[in-house]
C-alpha cells in the first residue's frame, strides 16, 4: 500500500512537470485571445515552425533548398557553417517577429470585425499554410535539437528522496528546466504587462478595443506585438518539446494538448493557463496510472484500459465547464439581450 502511495506521488510530481509543458503552449493561446479575441489554432504550428527555423539556422541549412533544387536543378543543401545556439535563438525570434508582421498585414488586417468563428477558421488556414511553408523551407526529416539543455533522470533527486523515503523519485532534468524557464517567462510577461508602456497598452486593448483606440493606442501595433510575443512563447515551447522528441511534424499536434488546458483555465487568464496546465497534467497522468495498474482499476474490464491521455483531459475539462462555463479564471460571461 505504501508503495502505491509513493508511485502515486511520483506520478503526481511528473504530472505537474508535464503540466508545465502544456501550460507553455497554452500561454501563447491566451496572449493572443486576450489581446485580439482570436482563438489562434496555429499556435502549435508556430511552435513547429519556430523549432524548424531554429534547427535550420543552427545547422546552416539553405532555406527552400528542396524547392530550388526541384525547380532550377541546383544541388543546394548547406551553407557550410553552424550558428551557436544563443545567436540562433535570437535570429529565430527575429523571424517570428517578421512572421507576426506578415500575419497582421496579410491576414488579420483584412478580417477586422469578423465573427470569432471566421477568425478561428482563418488561423486554421494559417496553420495549414505554415506547416507547408516550414516543410518547404527546411525539409521534413526528423531534426535533432540540442541547445544544451540536460535530459534524463536527475540522479541527485533520486538519491535524496531515496534516503528520505526509501523510494527514489524520478524527475526528468529537462522538466525541471522547463519549469524554471516557464516561471521566468511568466514573470517576465507579467512584469512587461504591468510596468511597461506597451504592456499597459496591451492590457487596455484586451479590456476594450474601442476605448483603447480612442485614447490613441495603435491596435495594429499591439496586435503585431502580441503575435510576436506569442511567436516567442512558441519558440520556447518548440525548444522544450523539440529537445524532448526531435523537431518534426508531430510537434504541431501539441496544440491539441493545450486546448483542454485553456478550457479549464479560461481563455483569457495567464494564471489560468498555468493552473489549468498543472491540473490537466496531474489529472491525466493519475487517471492513466489508476486505469492501467493491474493492482488498481486495470483488471476491471478484462482488457487493458490505457492510452487514456488523449481524451481524459477533454472530458475532465468538459465536466468542469458544466459547472463553471467560463473556466477557472475566465472572465464571467454576461449576456444582455
Amino acid at each position: 500500500m505504501m508503495d502505491q502511495l509513493f508511485y502515486a506521488a511520483e506520478v503526481i510530481v511528473n504530472g505537474l512537470m508535464t503540466g508545465v509543458m502544456y501550460a507553455l503552449v497554452a500561454l501563447g493561446f491566451v496572449l493572443i485571445f486576450k489581446a485580439s479575441g482570436v482563438f489562434n489554432y496555429a499556435q502549435g504550428v508556430l511552435a513547429l515552425f519556430a523549432g524548424l527555423t531554429l534547427v535550420g539556422i543552427m545547422q546552416g541549412q539553405v532555406p527552400f533548398a528542396h524547392l530550388l533544387n526541384a525547380v532550377f536543378g541546383t544541388q543546394l543543401d548547406r551553407f557550410g557553417w553552424t550558428v551557436p545556439a544563443l545567436l540562433a535563438i535570437v535570429l529565430t525570434a527575429g523571424v517570428m517577429v517578421l512572421l507576426a508582421i506578415l500575419i497582421e498585414k496579410l491576414v488579420l488586417q483584412h478580417l477586422v470585425g469578423q465573427e470569432p468563428i471566421i477568425l478561428f477558421m482563418a488561423t486554421i488556414g494559417l496553420a495549414y499554410f505554415l506547416e507547408g511553408l516550414g516543410d518547404v523551407m527546411w525539409g521534413a526529416d526528423v531534426k535533432n535539437l540540442d541547445v544544451g539543455l540536460p535530459q534524463g533522470i536527475s540522479d541527485s533527486i533520486e538519491r535524496v528522496t531515496d534516503s528520505w523515503f526509501g523510494y527514489g523519485f524520478f524527475i526528468d532534468r529537462l522538466d525541471i528546466w522547463a519549469a524554471l524557464i516557464a516561471t521566468a517567462l511568466v514573470a517576465a510577461l507579467v512584469a512587461f504587462s504591468q510596468y511597461t508602456k506597451q504592456g499597459r497598452a496591451m492590457r487596455a486593448v484586451a479590456d476594450d478595443h474601442q476605448a483603447a483606440l480612442s485614447v490613441g493606442i495603435s491596435l495594429r501595433f499591439i496586435w503585431i506585438m502580441v503575435w510576436s510575443i506569442a511567436g516567442f512563447v512558441a519558440l520556447v515551447a518548440g525548444i522544450m518539446w523539440g529537445t524532448k522528441s526531435g523537431v518534426q511534424f508531430s510537434l504541431s499536434l501539441i496544440a491539441l494538448k493545450a486546448l483542454p488546458v485553456l478550457m479549464l483555465g479560461g481563455f483569457t487568464s495567464i494564471p489560468g493557463a498555468i493552473v489549468g496546465g498543472l491540473i490537466i497534467g496531474v489529472g491525466e497522468k493519475l487517471f492513466e496510472f489508476v486505469m492501467s495498474s493491474p493492482d488498481l482499476a486495470g483488471s476491471w474490464f478484462g482488457f487493458t484500459i490505457g492510452a487514456t491521455e488523449n481524451w481524459f483531459a477533454y472530458v475532465l475539462a468538459l465536466v468542469f465547464l458544466v459547472f463553471r462555463p467560463q473556466g477557472l479564471f475566465g472572465e464571467r460571461i454576461i449576456e444582455r439581450v
Partner: protein, 358 residues
Amino acid sequence: MFYREAGDFKTTYRDDSQTFPIRLDRIGYYVILAVAVLVVPFVINDYWASAVLLPFLIYAIAAIGLNILTGYAGQVSLGTGGFMAVGAYAVYKLMTSFPEVSVVIHILLAGGITALVGIAFGLPSLRIKGFYLAVATLAAQFFLVWLFNKVPWFYNYSASGQINAPTRTVLGWAVTGPAASPAAKYLICLAFVIFSAWVARNLTRGMVGRKWMAIRDMDIAAEIIGVNPLNAKMTAFGISSFFVGIAGALLFAVYLGAAEVTEAFGINKSFLVLFMVIIGGLGSIFGSFAGAAFLVLLPVLLKNVLVGALGWPTDLAAYIELMIVGALIIFFLIVEPHGLARLWLLAKEKLRLWPFPH
C-alpha cells in the same frame, strides 16, 4: 439576360415559398438531378467513383449535418469525426449481427444511433457556449475514437482492430464489399444524398429550422420569445448527428470498405468537414455541396497538376498543396466570409441584370 424572371409570376404563398422559386433554377435542378441519376452511372469508372464522386457525395451529407448544427443552430462542433465513427461502427455491428436485414435499414439505424450519441454529447451545450463548446466537442471526438479502438466488442474481437465491410446487396446489386460496382456504390450514396438534402432543406425552412436560427442569432432572446432552448439545441444535435452518422456509415461501408478508427475518423476529419461548411457557406444546403466539392476536388486537382503535369517531387507537391489549401481558406474568408453559397448568389444577381448593370 441569362437569368430570366420575366413572366415568372407567383399567385400563391405556396409558389412563393418554394425551394427554387425561379423557374430557371427549378429546371436547372431537375437537369442536374437527371444527369446525376440517368447519365453518370453509365459513364462512371473506378477512378472517378473512388477519387471524386463517392467522397464528394459522402462529405456532402456530413457537411449538411454539420451545417445544421453550426450554420443553422450556431453550435460549433469539432466532434464530427467521432460522430462519423459512431455511424461506421454502428453499421458494422448491425451488418455483422443481422446479415439478413437490408443494408439500407442498417445505415438509417446507424444514423439513429449516432443521433442518440450526438444528443448525449450535446447536453453540455446548454451551459457551455462559443469556443468553450467547440473545444468541449473535442471530448466527444477523442473519447469516441478511443472507445472504438479500445473495446474489442466494437470490432468483433479481430486481431488488429480493423473493421471490414462484408458484401451486402440492394435489389440484387452489391453495394458494399469488393464486388460492388462503382455505379452501384455511386447510386446508393446518391440516394442518401438526395434524401438528406431533401429532409434537411424542408426541416430548415420549417418551424424547427426557424427555432434553430433564433437560437443561433441570440439564445437568450429566443428563449424570451418562447423557443425552448433545450428542445431546439437537442434537435439540432440529434438531427445533425443523424446525417453525420449516415455519412460515417457510408464512408466506411460503401467507400472505404475497411477502416481503422484512429486513422479514418481522426480529428482531421472534423476539421475537414468544418472547412467544407465554412467555405461552402454557413446556413446553406447548397453551400454544403459547394464546400464538399471544393475540398474534395482541390487536392486531387492540385496533385495532378503539380505532380502529373509539372513533374515535381511528390513530397514538395504535398507541401505546396498544404500551403495552397491554407492560403485559399484565408483568401476565401477575407474575400467572402459567407462562403461559396454567397458567391453563387452574387453571381446570380449579376446574371439577372446582365447586360444592363445599375
